[in-house]
């Protein structure tokens, strides 16, 4: 079995080959390392998708530091406030009082009152059994013109129940009221990025009688609230799935989950499901499949046998993407992924490409800090973490699939790979910026 040069030079052999990798327990757990790729959005970035809102975080100082500077770096510190928990609050048990009085005091000082306030509580509230109902009931009574919702910065729950990211995608829509006055609206649900206008998904919806809504389009709180009128919610990111069903149920909307995939048949199947639901004749719809796959072949010609690394932040369908690239004979060599949800696809790759030298690596294992990043050959990376770990400036700088979907997504991927393969970027500058696509004052 071939190993990377870095592993030959005394680094810790943390990588697993395609043969060795097991979807149920891919890597040992233990202490965790955080690589300096910061493009994925956090709960501050996502919260600010609600127009005309103000965010208030209630936590200990160390938890506040990262979020307040997220807001400062994206130029929204004027819509951001904090309440600091200290030891005396823990000992006195006055956490409710601190939250209520803190938020009240903040609101009184804001010259322009926000339409909505997202109040983020933290792990400490969870353990101290904060009476959230009392807090929100009191705040709503005090400020009837402002809408409040509960958001959470409780990473201690990331291994049990809904993760903070899943919760955020749900709570993002919790300020929308249920209405019986439904119209021909369809919401794309749970995305940080607007889905491309050229994507199969958006084209399909635009070709129907339905009006497309998306939180990323909303510039006013009124527009945001209008999402309650839509009949359908469509999500394609796994992290949005739980919220999709909860919110659709609450708002009496129909939920459609069509997860992102890079498999042509799966893409067509999901789009057919959607087309049937919104009464579009799928046989008359041009998927532009040939265009996309031709572009992918062109990318292969240009990129040739250059080694390719992919990380899980690039797209949630990491292994589906890897399989597509393998199917088109790209030299996929490294996959950075901490847990594997696409078990069936991994099995397919194992069956079909057992002879290929594909290595899997965790991103949080402490060995990843120690091991050399320098590679003995050029790498084209798909994703920021892959770029960091392979120490390459040839990379596609996207996270969370960047709003691409379907065959159009494949076409854009191919175009981006061709460009990234020939033009170096400064990874050390680009990947350290938080919230790719948000304003950044750095």
């Amino acid at each position: 079995m071939l190993r990377s040069v870095s592993e030959e030079h005394g680094n810790i052999a943390i990588g697993k080959s395609l043969k060795e990798i097991n979807a149920d327990a891919p890597f040992d757990t233990g202490l965790e390392y955080g690589c300096p790729a910061r493009g994925t959005w956090n709960i501050v970035h996502t919260g600010f998708l609600v127009p005309e809102c103000h965010e208030v975080f209630v936590c200990a100082a160390n938890c506040l530091r990262g979020v307040v500077l997220t807001a400062a770096e994206m130029g929204t510190i004027g819509q951001f406030s904090t309440v600091t928990i200290k030891e005396n609050n823990v000992l006195d048990g006055n956490m409710e009082e601190l939250l209520i009085d803190g938020v009240t005091s903040i609101i009184k000082k804001l010259k322009k009152k926000p339409r909505a306030i997202l109040v983020y509580t933290s792990c400490i509230h969870h353990f101290m059994a904060l009476d959230l109902d009392l807090c929100y009931k009191t705040l709503r009574k005090r400020f009837p013109k402002i809408k409040f919702t509960d958001c959470y910065m409780n990473p201690i729950m990331r291994k049990s129940g809904m993760t903070p990211d899943e919760l955020m995608r749900r709570q993002l829509y919790s300020l929308i009221d249920k209405t019986d006055k439904k119209d021909n609206g369809i919401n794309i649900f749970g995305n940080n990025y607007a889905t491309d206008e050229s994507s199969d998904l958006v084209r399909l919806i635009r070709s129907s009688k339905y009006k497309l809504r998306d939180i990323t389009y909303c510039r006013t709180f009124d527009e945001y609230e209008e999402m309650g009128k839509s009949r359908f919610n469509i999500a394609y990111l796994g992290v949005a799935k739980k919220g999709l069903y909860d919110i659709s149920n609450k708002l009496d909307q129909e939920a459609i989950f069509i997860p992102i995939s890079y498999d042509p048949n799966t893409i067509k199947s999901y789009l057919k499901t959607l087309a049937d639901t919104i009464n579009v004749d799928i046989n008359k719809f041009d998927f532009k499949e040939d265009e996309a796959l031709t572009k992918l072949k062109e990318a292969k010609k240009v990129i040739g046998n250059t080694a390719i690394a992919i990380d899980y932040t690039f797209t949630p369908a990491t292994l589906s993407l890897a399989k597509l690239l393998l199917d088109y004979d790209f030299n996929v060599k490294k996959i950075y992924i901490d847990s594997i949800g696409e078990k069936d696809i991994l099995d397919e790759i194992k069956k079909k490409y057992s002879d290929r030298d594909i290595m899997f690596y965790p991103t949080v294992n402490v060995a990843m800090r120690k091991n050399d990043r320098e590679q003995s050959e050029k790498y084209l990376a798909l994703g920021q973490k892959a770029a960091y770990f392979t120490d390459t400036n040839y990379f596609v700088n996207e996270v969370e699939c960047g709003g691409h979907y379907g065959f159009d997504g494949i076409k854009r991927l191919a175009e981006n790979m061709i460009e990234a393969n020939s033009k170096e970027k400064d990874a050390s500058i680009l990947i350290q910026k938080k919230g790719l696509g948000c304003n950044c004052l750095l």
């Binding site: 202490l31 390392y33 400062a72 990473p155 291994k159």
Partner: protein, 388 residues
């Protein structure tokens, strides 16, 4: 109301102060935390992170581990990582949830040290104090473990104590202090701990005097004073006058040495000039302004003072002469109280993120501080040792 920041930022917390202080020393710093502390630290508090291999990790504490009090996982994970990575020492810093569940960080450290034979410090941070506490404690633990005893003193020599990027960024300020001292015949034995050398740090007991350049250095200075009978002086030399004063102070240092920055005393006139920030660097800047322009500025220390006192507002300060603040200065950690204190300001010198609470009529002088605004204004942080 106290404990709220409606418009401004918050300071680097104690838990980030620990790895910051120990970053260059070959150890493994572990934050006993679920998630978030690591990214906060390595994004906003640590400019050296991208290219270096310093070992800073989190335990990834989960809900069930916290509820069940599963310290064994913490111990096992650290031992396993230590066996792979072979650090010189291990430092474990606590966060809010371990504090609530009563996790005995120090006991766990002893278990790990016993098993690995690697010096291990349990540092009782809880994420509710500023970096001054965490970094100060970390340097203190390090000194106790690694500074050699029974060492002969060298005259006209110093250690520089309390240097971290949180107060000094990475623009060469500590190196400038070192060059200035050595060009004036003062030997710099060691620097704790920015651009430092671990062999030199082991000889810190040789110094005839310790120079505390931020409140982070006060705890270790007190330790070295007790252990090696080494007096310490407090301040950062901005401008020629202070540089000359510093040399005189070092050469003639004794336990009665007056501070070279905190002697405005009765000359203080309330000119409504305020400097907000960390006490030692801010007080040093106030002294420079007095030397250069004859104006007296009031310092508002917005973080702990670095000694054993914890409090929000110190009135009638009764601190030792060699701790930075004077009686007319203030120690205020809350936005509302700071805003109240500066409401009559004619000039405010502070980090740009304080701007929203500064009266519009006041002149505002940007003085970026990584401890407050992180990397946001890093490019604008000046090497004041060289340019003043």
């Amino acid at each position: 109301m106290r404990q709220i920041q409606t418009f401004t930022s918050t300071y680097t917390a104690d838990v980030s102060g620990v790895p910051s202080a120990l970053y260059e020393l070959g150890g493994m710093s572990i934050m006993h935390d679920a998630s978030g502390c690591n990214s906060t630290y390595n994004t906003h508090d640590e400019p050296r992170y991208y290219d270096s291999k310093s070992m800073v990790f989190i335990t990834g504490l989960s809900e069930m581990e916290a509820i069940m009090g599963d310290d064994q996982k913490l111990v096992n994970d650290i031992i396993k990582a230590a066996k792979e990575l072979k650090p010189r020492f291990i430092a474990i810093a606590g966060t809010p949830i371990p504090m609530i569940t009563g996790c005995d960080i120090e006991a766990n450290a002893r278990v790990i040290e016993s098993e690995t034979k690697i010096p291990t410090f349990g540092i009782n941070t809880n994420g509710m104090h500023s970096y001054v506490e965490g970094a100060g404690e970390a340097l203190l633990h390090y000194a106790k473990a690694f500074v050699k005893k029974n060492i002969k003193k060298k005259s006209n020599s110093v250690n520089i104590l309390g240097a971290t990027p949180i107060d000094f960024s990475v623009n060469g300020q500590i190196e400038s202090i070192k060059k200035f001292l050595e060009s004036n015949g003062i030997k710099v034995i060691s620097n704790f701990a920015l651009g430092c050398d671990i062999d030199e740090m082991a000889n810190a007991g040789e110094a005839s005097v310790n120079l505390v350049v931020s409140s982070v250095g006060i705890k270790i200075a007190e330790y070295l004073q007790n252990e090696f009978n080494t007096p310490y002086i407090v301040g950062v030399p901005y401008g020629n006058q202070m540089k000359q004063d510093l040399i005189k102070a070092i050469v003639g240092a004794s336990f009665a040495t007056p501070s070279f920055i905190s002697d405005i005393g009765n000359k203080f006139k309330n000119e409504k000039i305020y400097i907000i920030g960390e006490s030692v660097t801010s007080k040093s800047l106030a002294r420079y302004i007095y030397n250069k322009y004859g104006h007296t500025a009031k310092v508002i220390s917005a973080v702990e003072l670095g000694n054993t006192y914890h409090g929000d507002i110190v009135k009638n300060l009764n601190v030792r002469d060699n701790v930075a603040l004077e009686k007319f200065d203030l120690h205020i950690e809350d936005e509302d109280n700071i805003a109240e204190a500066i409401k009559d300001a004619k000039m405010v010198i502070a980090d740009p993120l304080y701007r929203p609470i500064v009266p519009s009529k006041a002149i505002f002088v940007n003085h970026p501080h990584e401890g407050f605004s992180g990397r946001l204004f890093r490019k604008n942080i000046l090497n004041l040792i060289d340019i003043l």
